[in-house]
Symmetry: C2
Subunit: 115 residues, 2 copies
DNA sequence: ATACTATTCAACCATATGGTTGAACAGATA
DNA sequence: TATCTGTTCAACCATATGGTTGAATAGTAT
């Protein structure tokens, strides 16, 4: 298909899978090899490796070779962007909810006044 | 497939598509009918309706009938959860970065001291 | 009832995704 | 060199996703 226009596509795409979220959680606590990660899941080694590819493409993790093993580490900055993205929305909603709240309060005050 | 285990799956899945993010952005500013939303995209009406279904399943939007039209509104609470989810990670990473930062500072101090 | 507008549903298609197994490759070690 | 461990790659399969068009439905208005 077309080129990767938006980083958010792949970041949120990565996060939409529970296995990948779990991997991310695991790796965020401690860097570990591909094999170590795979050992925690019932999936085939290759399946886990694919999940790691997805996370890597989204720049949520990085790999670095240490002898025989490939060490997987989290790449903090990328998810911060996603978090910020959502944070903005959160703000927006909170504002809207505040507006609603004010509106309701005004109505209420009005009702109370016109007793 | 199996039942929807995790709300986050569908929320992040929804967010992984740029059209859906755009719809969400649009709707977060102002509730509007399905037709109004569709008019902003080159896609077929049905395609946009499908995107709305996805957003609805993820509980990111709600619809309410107003006469002939179906009015689409944002459902703030769900995305707040996703935001919080990422927020936790952000915290985790910031902590890790802080640790790294302290570590580097310590090294640096050590270097400076042993001049 | 008829027709018009807004929306949904169904069938279909192409490509993406998530999984498998088995072969190939990289690095360490006998 | 041979071999063992760790990882990647390739081929394949089933299902999901994102798009299309056309028919069906809901509500409004004539």
């Amino acid at each position: 298909m077309v080129e990767q226009i938006n980083q958010l596509d792949s970041v949120f795409g990565s996060l939409s899978d529970p296995t990948r979220r779990d991997i991310l959680k695991r790796v965020s606590k401690k860097s570990m090899s591909v094999g170590q990660i795979a050992s925690h899941y019932q999936l085939s080694f290759a399946a886990v490796a694919k999940h790691l590819k997805v996370l890597e493409r989204a720049k949520l993790i990085t790999k670095s070779r240490s002898g025989n093993e490939q060490i997987v580490s989290i790449a903090p900055s990328t998810l911060a962007e996603a978090s910020n993205y959502l944070g903005n929305y959160k703000q927006l909603w909170e504002d809207r909810l505040d507006s609603l709240d004010n509106y309701l309060r005004k109505i209420n005050k009005h009702k109370t006044r016109s007793h």
